[in-house]
Amino acid sequence: MKVHVDPERCQGHTLCSMIAPALFTLSDEDGHSTAIDGEVPADQESKADEAIRSCPEQAISVIP
């Protein structure tokens, strides 16, 4: 699986990187999130799922 952060929805709540720091990078300037390129490692999939469920703006989605 891959994850994607919709930049139009993200408002910089930072919960995704708090939960899964290996999968999400925050902008230094405004804390808005970007997902890593490529496949989510198998041992990170549950964290990816928790990040998706925790995003207040529902900005994170799975790319099959």
Binding site: Q11, G12, H13, T14, L15, S17, M18, I19, L26, S27, D28, E29, D30, G31, E50, R53, S54, C55, P56, E57, Q58
Partner: protein
């Protein structure tokens, strides 16, 4: 006439009704019941209070409304230069000026956010952690040998205030000019005999604020005020009253909210000593989720008002231009559709997409500050006063929770311990040197890396 009479149309649109008055002590006492009723029966309801307004309580309803900036306005226009909208407070206070960018719409609001974000981003805030630890340590030092502390007066009022002033670029030692008027004006009723004294302290605060703006403009030093003093918004320099409104917003957001969260959480942890021990022992695994859970459960800032800016249907409800809406972060945070056992504190809760920092383009700009300061204060208390017990007879909650769900006082006793290092005044003086030498208050775009304290 072929159109329906307005009254009939309104009766249909407003068929879900609830008498909602969040400014009464009754609402604080019955919060859980009122919330459950509204979530169950009318997640969006019309209330006749305060001239009539909508109340959104349901999680999905609040989510949709808060993210519809095209139809909901934050604008506050007391001079009737635009459409006369009344900003984020219901009822709207009798003031001449709006309250910073939280009472503006894009694009103006966005210009201010973009200007200030580099001072308040996670990377910018991380640089302040060593300073916060020093102020926390010194605040606890002042009480550690006595076995008695008031967590509001002696800790949770001080640290957010000192940090906020540092980030603004105001001398840290001025914190006590600001802390009392900001804290007390939230919980003091206009009818209180204390109001004259608080007005006096508010004037002293406004004077210092204006003096700081003038001083920083004349002799620039880094910080949020410096950014505002240099600001050009839509190609023009904003008037001072606008900038002072923004400074007041940053202080109001930075001070009493984190104080409230910390006090309520420390009180809860005192009432649940086994959970406190668990949090302390497993803080690596639990501190983040516990912080989000305390944010959800206590929702320090319980909601925001908006004005409908165009006729629309949102979350299944028909709204008319000009109508007022209260978005209840506090009630939506108890929605069982999203939060199983919503009225229980679960320190390990997952999927906790609470609304305590708001949603959409007006997300609390200081959310990263709040989380960091809260965590540093709570963990220091757990380390140095692990057996503290709050005194229920002395604990004083705000009478109403319409503006901030906070506490006036939270006294506690604990087994006395040793001081570590210097006291508060000496520490604040040392930290001022650190702020100045390291230019800590500069935006993250100018400089990176944490401060080296001590």
């Amino acid at each position: 006439m072929t159109t329906q009479p307005v009254a009939d149309d309104d009766a249909e649109r407003k068929k879900n009704r609830y008498h909602f008055d969040r400014h009464t002590p009754d609402y604080r006492e019955k919060f859980t019941d009122v919330t459950a009723q509204m979530l169950d029966k009318c997640p969006i309801a019309w209330s006749d209070t305060y001239g009539g307004h909508w109340v959104a309580a349901g999680h999905s309803e609040v989510f949709e409304l808060a993210r519809s900036a095209g139809h909901l306005s934050n604008d506050h226009d007391p001079q009737h230069e635009r459409r006369g909208y009344k900003g984020i407070s219901i009822p709207s206070p009798d003031v001449a000026f709006r309250g910073g960018f939280l009472e503006m719409d894009p694009p103006e609001q966005r210009h201010y956010r973009q200007l200030l974000n580099p001072y308040l981003s996670p990377a910018a805030v991380a640089r302040w952690t060593p300073l916060v630890d020093e102020i926390v340590r010194a605040s606890l030092n002042e009480k550690i040998e006595t076995g008695r502390i008031d967590f509001v007066d002696d800790l949770a009022n001080i640290v957010p205030a000192v940090l906020t002033l540092g980030m603004l670029g105001i001398p840290l030692k001025n914190w006590d000019i600001y802390v009392e008027p900001i804290h007390a004006s939230v919980y003091t009723s206009p009818n209180s005999p204390d109001i004259a004294r608080i007005q006096t302290s508010r004037l002293a605060m406004r004077d210092d604020m204006a003096a700081q703006l003038a001083e920083i403009r004349a002799n620039p030093r880094p910080g949020l005020i410096d950014a505002l003093a240099r600001a050009e918004i839509n190609g023009s320099v904003p008037p001072d009253f606008e900038l002072l409104g923004i400074i007041a917003l940053l202080m109001g957001g930075g001070f009493d909210t984190t104080t409230a969260l910390t006090a309520r959480s420390l009180e809860w942890l005192s009432e649940h000593p086994a959970r406190r021990e668990q949090l302390s022992a497993q803080r690596g695994a639990l501190l983040d989720s516990a912080t989000e859970e305390f944010l959800r459960y206590f929702t320090p800032a319980p909601g925001d008002g908006r004005t409908i800016s165009a006729d629309c249907v949102l979350a299944g409800q028909e709204f008319k231009e000009g109508e007022r809406v209260w978005l209840s972060w506090a009630m939506s945070n108890r929605d069982p559709a999203v939060f199983p056992n919503p009225n229980e504190v679960d320190l390990a809760r997952t999927g906790n997409r609470h609304h305590s920092f708001g949603l959409g383009i007006h997300r609390c700009i200081g959310s990263n500050v709040a989380r960091m300061v809260f965590k540093r204060m709570v963990t220091a208390v757990l380390d140095r006063m692990p057996d503290y017990v709050c005194d229920p007879a002395g604990a004083e909650h705000y009478q109403t929770i319409g503006i901030i769900q906070g506490m006036k006082h939270l006294p506690a006793t604990f087994t006395p311990g040793p001081r570590i290092g210097d006291g508060l005044d000496e520490t604040i003086a040392r930290m001022q040197v650190l702020v100045d030498e390291e230019e800590l208050a500069a935006p993250v775009t100018a400089r990176k890396g944490p401060a080296v304290a001590g």
